[in-house]
Symmetry: C2
């Protein structure tokens, strides 16, 4: 449930208004599919105990369509030659009203719902007895679970210009709906439109954004609504006017599309669809859908200023952060302690709490690693390649920051410090979203770090995203955010990969293999296999599948290896061959990550079969061969197409710190940009700098190309 | 229109069958929204002149629901205590039938369509007079534009087990629909289901793929249909059986979802939705939806074999290709000539034809550049970094091929040769899709190149995609294709970026700026600006915006620059300042790529304003400063965050060949992986190779880390 929509939990009485653009099709006939879906949804609400009141438009359009048809049928050929007079609006309303109500009656009857008709005019409401009586009538109907269907009684209305007169107590069905919602003390008014809600500009324009919450002070007057709806009187301007009126009278309003078949249900489940009007909206925290883009843009601006600093000044920021962390250690520990207590009280499991806790020495350890990072070779502006293209025309390929990174990480608050320092080192802007368990820890760490960033750069270099709901908005900003790095469960990574066009650096699966060749030193094999599985069974670089050469079956070395796994408590699942040979359960799939004290075992014919198995079933993360045969080793190392390929070493070595990359932002199984453990390098891109003295291309006759590699010294 | 669906152009009489799972909701009531949408679509077909026959299910379910409700209403409290007997199926059918027909009548009436009811039993069809009469009746109804609605007359059927007896002339509404379609000589039968069509496995499983065209020989028996539909008798097995029956009797059948509101319309527009059954399907060329994945997988397999070859053998393939191109020059020119003639006859514009034509010397030029590529340093397996992690534990970062590339390119056939040779050089598999104008040229070039690939690798290393319809299928294969490189119009690039999760290397916009600083040598400025705009105005690296320092206004140098542009015929559009100062038209947007003899001019305060303008409105492709002031130059070069940043040189230099990268696969404005002109390097990724002698991590106590950079020599 969206945080701005929680009030729907207390909604009992709801007014739904459906406009002409929803009720009728472009040919003027009733939109049967949409009306059917509307009735089905109202039936659903009715069954769930909501009190449902419907305000419907569409009678005039339906009547006009029907009268045209009737007139045609009744016309002689001579009649058709005459100029056709415009059909009378009130006549159309009268004809259409009965047709519309008949259809509602049939549809609701099919759903075992009784509906009722209430036609009202503006004048009626001038009579206070009428108002009282109307409330009573509606109350009685609702008590009987009957759905009252309201419409303006256009056929007998005495207003002069029905379509234009916007004075009076109400003047169209939007204002009628708002009036009824307040008069009948509804808890919610839903206005169904032909667009998703209110947009910041014309909905047809690409950069118009749906406004999730209307704030009178912010949005009034600043929005172009685009054209009126193609039919009906209202359009978005009328809807907003009615919505503001009802909302400030105390009835929240949601404008959403009536074209979808389930939007009413979604609104009442608190989903964040459409535009909400609520009298207290201006008091709420600034909405994130406005904030997400601004945050990213600010981070980019700050990052450009950061890049403008000298290397020494950038280094100094890191040293200041390291100092600030140590100075504020007590404060940080206190906030972290509070998170830990909350997590314990909430009954989170031990491993989560262990990851959440900043243990003694952690802060100084973090400070130390930041200082190491500060002393690393300057990563920005490194010249990677220098070529003389022609006389006096020199090309350099230089390293430069990616831009703005979005990191979504789970419980570990120390990840925030690592990532923030890597981002600063590499000159990038950063948006961070941590887990809710570490909320207070992340907030204080973010505050301590950003306080150490000088004003010449701006503390918005690093933004802390505090609500999960902002993630979808951020993931849409593929024009401002350059890379997303999810650090957490496979599910998190997969979800993010599914839902963004921004490049994602990370790995969804870590199905790592160890292949024990026939020539393996079996004592070594046992050591490595046990370490690869047991050192941290839930890690992405832990072994999930053990492949064993055929000829090792029934050898004492192999038996000891299996016995070793068993005695450590590792549950074994076999492929078709191993399950028979070893009499163990068969694994449901070779592409399976246990993340626990379990693994798959399979017997393979030879190294080629092992490679084939890894290519077919692996996740191209880390795969290892154990062999004493050099030729076999090199074959495996050359052919296995994974981010990391190991010989006679535990898969657990696949890690940024162990690889000597300093801090690590994650491990990538993506094949582009960065692969395997990613440190500072993965946060950099390149720029081509060309220095000339007036050279032109002139159809390639402008210069004589030399293309001389001139080394990196200038 | 999909190539397998072109027969729909000739469809006049169509039978639509809608099953219980579509007609009724999970609570047993009629699905009003779906029924409404069904009637609206049939009305649409009716208006367009199609002869529409509807076969509907749902009566039994509706009747059961209604009888339950009626029974409840009529029950005493005591009645409700007794065990409830199952309602009689035939009674349900009788009750439901009238309700269902009443609803169809109301819905169709709303749409000014007359419908009619035809209840038939299996036995009726045993009578040949009945068959004749039925055809006549239906013919009369259709002539009057009345929609016949068929249903099995369950209420009076004498079959013992209505739901299980699948003998007879028909045994459910699927077989009834197939029978009617053949009996009434329909041109198409549409079976509406609750899933998108027939899948290769249970639709709920992720790797089940929708089968676009059913081929009896391929698919029969090999498909698990998953569970039967939750309601109704049929399920997918029954539908396939009926569909095969009708298709082999000469009526094509499409199974598609009845949940969507416009699938019937889409089917009749020839869109590729649902599963098609056609008696000639087995004669058609192998379908691409099967082919796309197979093609990509084959390319990957071949690329792994290619990588397994020695460097020398890989080099030899390129030399063989170069020879083969020269040997087959006549053949290639003949096919290319045929393409050119076709394009001329089709009235394509000159620039397209010029790009299409392989001019004299082109083939030998291509052969030459392939030989240069062959002699380049081996790109695969290069050691980029070597670190000793601990004693006897050595880590190497090595270059390796990306995997499988998909290149979509427009008219130039020489691009095929360039890209294919780059792919082979970099050890990648390749799928190529060229423009239809160069169809014959591409086919012969592909044939010549793949013929030179040895069998040990396999000619499927390079696949040629021949139909535009395959592109969407290919773009879905994010698990088999590693990189997409679109080479062509902005529109092509944008479309591809929008529609795939595979990383895309390319640039949608090329809004390149030249900033003329106050200290510029104005003669040089004029030369560079004219070259940047005029050398090839439609190129992505052509200047689109000229930024000029404020102080240059009204100087003779500036006036000459403007005069120069004007005398070359360049149309000038100004920003707010320039349009006033120079009295020229205002540009509608600074983010505009003219791709022609036109450009935007704006006056800026200083270099900072120029940088800001470029960041705000540019596309981060190539931007240039013209200045004689070193400090200003370095500021610009350091701060402008574009793929290529130039000093005193034409933007037109931004090109793979001019940069000395050999052939170019394209220019990337993406910030990750490869940026700017992309040659072989952009087609490579890295792998981490770790060689040990039994080392384990053991909670980081297993080894003593040294992290020593040990240089690239082994």
């Amino acid at each position: 449930m969206d945080s701005t929509r929680t009030f729907v939990k207390d909604v009992k009485r709801v007014v739904v208004k459906v406009g002409t653009a929803v009720v009728t099709r472009s040919d003027g006939r009733l939109a049967l599919g949409r009306l059917g879906a509307l009735c089905e949804q109202l039936k659903e609400l009715n069954s769930r105990g909501f009190e449902v009141i419907l305000v419907t438009s569409g009678a005039v359009g339906v009547g006009r369509q029907r009268l045209k048809y009737r007139k045609l049928v009744n016309s002689s050929f001579a009649d058709l030659q005459k100029p056709q007079v415009e059909l009378d609006g009130k006549a159309c309303a009268a004809v259409g009203q009965s047709g519309l109500m008949a259809l509602y009656d049939v549809l609701f009857s099919q759903l075992d719902v009784t509906s009722s008709q209430l036609l009202v005019t503006d004048n009626n409401f001038r009579d206070s007895d009428f108002r009282l009586q109307l409330s009573e009538t509606v109350k009685s109907l609702l008590a009987l679970r009957v759905i009252p269907i309201f419409n303006e009684n256009d056929a007998i209305s005495t207003r002069i210009a029905v379509y234009e007169d916007s004075s009076g107590i109400f003047w169209d069905n939007d204002s009628l709906a708002a009036l009824l919602a307040t008069e009948l003390k509804a808890d919610l008014l839903i206005l169904l439109s032909d667009v998703e809600g209110l947009y910041s500009g014309p909905p047809s324009e690409a950069n118009s954004k749906l406004i999730h919450t209307y704030i009178k002070e912010t949005h009034q007057g600043g929005i172009t609504f685009g054209d009126k709806s193609r039919v009906g009187r209202g359009g978005m301007t009328a809807k907003v006017k009615a919505a503001v009126h009802a909302a400030y009278a105390g009835v929240p309003v949601i404008i959403t599309s009536g074209y979808a078949t389930d939007n009413i249900i979604k609104v009442l489940q608190g989903e964040r669809i459409g535009t909400l009007f609520h009298k207290d909206a201006h008091l709420w925290a600034p909405r994130k859908d406005v904030g997400a883009r601004e945050m990213a843009v600010a981070a980019r601006d700050c990052s450009r200023r950061l890049q403008g600093l000298s290397s020494e000044n950038r280094r100094k920021i890191l040293l200041d952060i390291a100092d600030a962390l140590e100075t504020n250690e007590k404060l940080i520990k206190a906030e972290n302690g509070a998170d830990v207590v909350t997590a314990q009280q909430a009954g989170y499991d031990k491993s989560l709490i262990s990851r959440l806790e900043l243990k003694p020495g952690k802060i100084s350890g973090l400070a130390k690693s930041i200082r190491v990072l500060a002393d690393m070779e300057e990563p920005i502006g490194q010249i990677l390649k220098r070529t003389e293209l022609a006389d006096g025309l020199v090309l350099e390929k230089t390293s430069s920051p990616l831009g703005v990174l979005l990191i979504v990480f789970e419980s570990r608050p120390d990840a925030l410090v690592q990532i923030a320092s890597l981002a600063i080192r590499s000159g990038n802007g950063l948006l961070l979203k941590g887990g809710k368990e570490a909320k207070r820890s992340n907030a204080i760490l973010h505050k301590v770090i950003t306080s150490a960033i000088p004003d010449t750069v701006g503390e918005k270099l690093i933004g802390l995203v505090t609500s999960r709901e902002e993630i979808p908005d951020l993931l849409k900003l593929d024009d401002v955010i350059d890379l997303v790095i999810p650090r957490g469960s496979n599910k998190l990574v997969s979800q993010i990969k599914e839902s963004t066009k921004i490049p994602v650096l990370g790995h969804a699966d870590g199905i790592c293999h160890v292949y024990v060749d026939k020539s393996a030193n079996m004592e070594m094999a046992k050591q490595i296999v046990l370490d690869a599985k047991m050192d941290y069974p839930a890690a992405c670089n832990a072994m999930e599948t053990l492949l064993v050469h055929n000829e090792l079956l029934n050898t004492s070395g192999f038996n000891e290896l299996i016995a070793g796994l068993r005695s450590e408590g590792v549950a074994l699942y076999g492929g078709p061959k191993a399950s028979t040979s070893l009499n163990i359960k068969e694994t449901p799939s070779f592409h399976h990550e246990y993340n626990s004290m379990a693994c798959t075992i399979e017997i393979v014919e030879d190294v080629y079969a092992a490679i084939d198995h890894i290519h077919r079933h692996g996740s191209a993360h880390t795969d290892c061969i154990i062999t004493e045969d050099d030729e076999t080793a090199e074959l495996f190392l050359r052919q296995v197409d994974s981010a990391a390929v190991f010989l006679n070493a535990s898969t657990r070595f696949c890690d940024g710190a162990r690889f000597g990359l300093g801090a690590e932002v994650g491990i990538s199984t993506s094949r582009i940009h960065a692969r395997g453990p990613v440190g500072v390098e993965g946060l950099l891109t390149t720029r081509w700098i060309l220095r000339g003295s007036g050279q032109v291309v002139d159809n390639d006759k402008g210069v004589i190309y030399t293309h001389k590699n001139i080394g990196l010294q200038s």
